[in-house]
Amino acid sequence: MASTIGSLGAAEAVLKPFATTITRPQPERLEVNIHPDNLLAAVRALVDESWGYLSAIVGLDRPAQLAAEGMSQPESAIDVLYLFCSGAAVVTLRITLSYSQAVIPTISGIAPTAMLYEWELREMFGVEVVGLRVTGHLILADDWPAGVYPLRKSFTGFNQPIVGAEGA
């Protein structure tokens, strides 16, 4: 456990210049919120420090609740989480993108394993990954309609109930 805490401390020191907020949601986890513009620099800093490896990229759709009358409607957002692991320590870089500006730069130039994860993120959430040099589909069918992103909460199937769901 001591080495995990040390490891998280080292990551915190490296990431501090790029962070808007830093939290420790669990003893083995460090979560760092960063602005999309700082993404490449933050990943570069971790890689230059040889801190762990990129383990996963997670998309998280957060559609806005309908605002009460008279209130301005907040914009829906997508969180993109970059999970880096070193031993038992897990560092999450979290960026929040609004639907209208769901664009991130690719980190595959720095961390080549990111390529497949970014490809999946683009297909499933409709996040544009600038600089990702692959085209076409990785997972979805060839005739999957453009502009339909299955892991967004708004997608509930093609007018067919989801079979096997509770009560369906």
Binding site: P25, S55, L60, C85, L138, G164, E166
Partner: protein, 392 residues
């Protein structure tokens, strides 16, 4: 022939690209030599992550187990560990020890399955049939413990369903003795048979630096000297009480991947014996609330193919907000695409199977033959209705 490169593109798959699961590879070749490669996945993508969002925490346990028919237990374990972390629940030590025991039995069956598949791709069908015949022993043990050979369904949120009785322990010991002896024979075959060595040594060699750069994990990485194993790096269940040794090899070639997996099988056998001899006493389950407190959790386990990561987000309701599964095979694809370059086309089947890829193949329709009616194709929904009516 493509216009720009003047080279041939050989498509392999999606039907049975060397191994009996669907993926599509394109290899650019110059004569016999591969000069480039690409992959297309998703032929059996089932939208499980989406499906998880409309099911309850308990229903999802069964869904996650069905992601994979080879390492079903480890998926359910990663999921339950994440949910238990969010719920702040401590699972009794005996339940965790049984989870570890099942996980290691599963690793033995998975590695022996791979040994057979890889031998078959290399043209060694005798070894394939021997290893699959012997693998039945560990499948039978899993069935004796759980009642099932494939989806053991040992986990519950908060514990396990099955106990290991002294009679079962004796059976497991007996099975392990046989498996150990057989795996000694396999180790001898893969390290002494000249043709076998000829087809595996110095093929698809990956240096330690390259394995780390490409993000290889599991036995694929360990065969290149990367000493990374979640069971040791971030011990979960009872891996602190019953530790395992990280098995590595320095050769980095296909041969090394055979040796590492067989050594891991011995290590699993050793640790299962230790668990059986020092099984903690106590309950098998603890209570887990229906609604899981809001939050996010990351759980990581060492599946037979490498690190398996679950990211689980809860909004405080009876259903998860998001379950993200990052399976180990995904990490190892980039190693194949990179290592293929410069090799002969004939080496591709073994190189592909060398990483032990898993497509979690599980289609949603099934063909049934009953009496004189001939073949029918049933949709999942129809099959589900049939099941409900049958057991009504």
């Amino acid at each position: 022939m493509t216009a720009d490169t003047n080279k041939f593109v050989i498509p392999i798959g999606p039907q049975h690209p060397a191994l009996k699961e669907p993926a599509n590879f394109e290899f650019w070749v110059d004569g016999e030599i591969v000069t480039g490669a690409s992959v297309r996945l998703g032929y059996v993508h089932r939208g499980i992550e989406k499906g998880a969002e409309v099911r309850t925490w308990t229903q999802n346990l069964y869904l996650m187990e069905r992601i994979c028919g080879i390492c079903s237990h480890v998926h359910a374990t990663a999921y339950t560990l994440g949910v238990e972390k969010l719920a702040g629940v401590e699972v009794p030590p005996r339940a965790n020890a049984i989870r570890q025991l099942m996980a290691e039995l599963e690793r033995i069956h998975s590695h022996m399955l791979w040994l057979g598949v890889a031998a078959h791709e290399g043209g060694f069908d005798t070894l394939f049939m021997y290893s699959w015949r012997d693998r039945e022993t560990v499948m039978d043990l899993l069935e004796k413990i759980s009642g099932n050979k494939v989806h053991y369904s040992a986990n519950l949120l908060g514990g396990v369903k099955f106990d290991i009785t002294p009679e079962l322990a004796t059976e497991v010991h007996k099975g392990l003795d046989f498996l150990e002896e057989r795996n000694r024979f396999y180790l001898k075959v893969v390290t002494t048979d000249e043709t076998f060595i000829g087809r595996t040594r110095d093929i698809g060699t990956m240096t330690t630096e390259k394995a780390e750069f490409l993000g290889a994990i599991g036995p694929t990485a360990r065969a290149s000297g990367v000493a990374r194993d979640i069971r040791v790096d971030a011990p979960y269940l009872t891996y602190e009480q019953f530790p395992v040794k990280v098995m590595t090899h320095t050769s980095g070639d296909l041969h090394g991947r055979f040796i590492v997996r067989i050594h891991e099988t011995f290590e699993s056998i050793r640790v299962i014996r230790e668990i059986l001899d020092h099984m903690p006493q106590g309950d098998l389950t603890t209570r887990v609330p229906r609604r899981i407190p809001a939050g996010e959790a990351v759980s990581r386990v060492e599946a037979p193919r490498g690190e398996l990561l679950y990211f689980i987000a809860s909004n405080g309701s009876e259903k998860p907000e998001r379950v993200k599964v990052r399976t180990p095979s995904l990490c190892n694809w980039s190693t194949v695409l990179s290592l293929a370059i410069g090799l002969k086309l004939a080496d591709m089947p073994m190189l592909l199977s060398g990483i032990d890829p898993c497509f979690s193949c599980n289609d949603r329709s099934i063909s049934l033959k009953r009496g004189q009616q001939g073949a029918q194709v049933w949709s999942w929904e129809k099959l589900r209705q049939y099941g409900i009516e049958y057991y009504r």
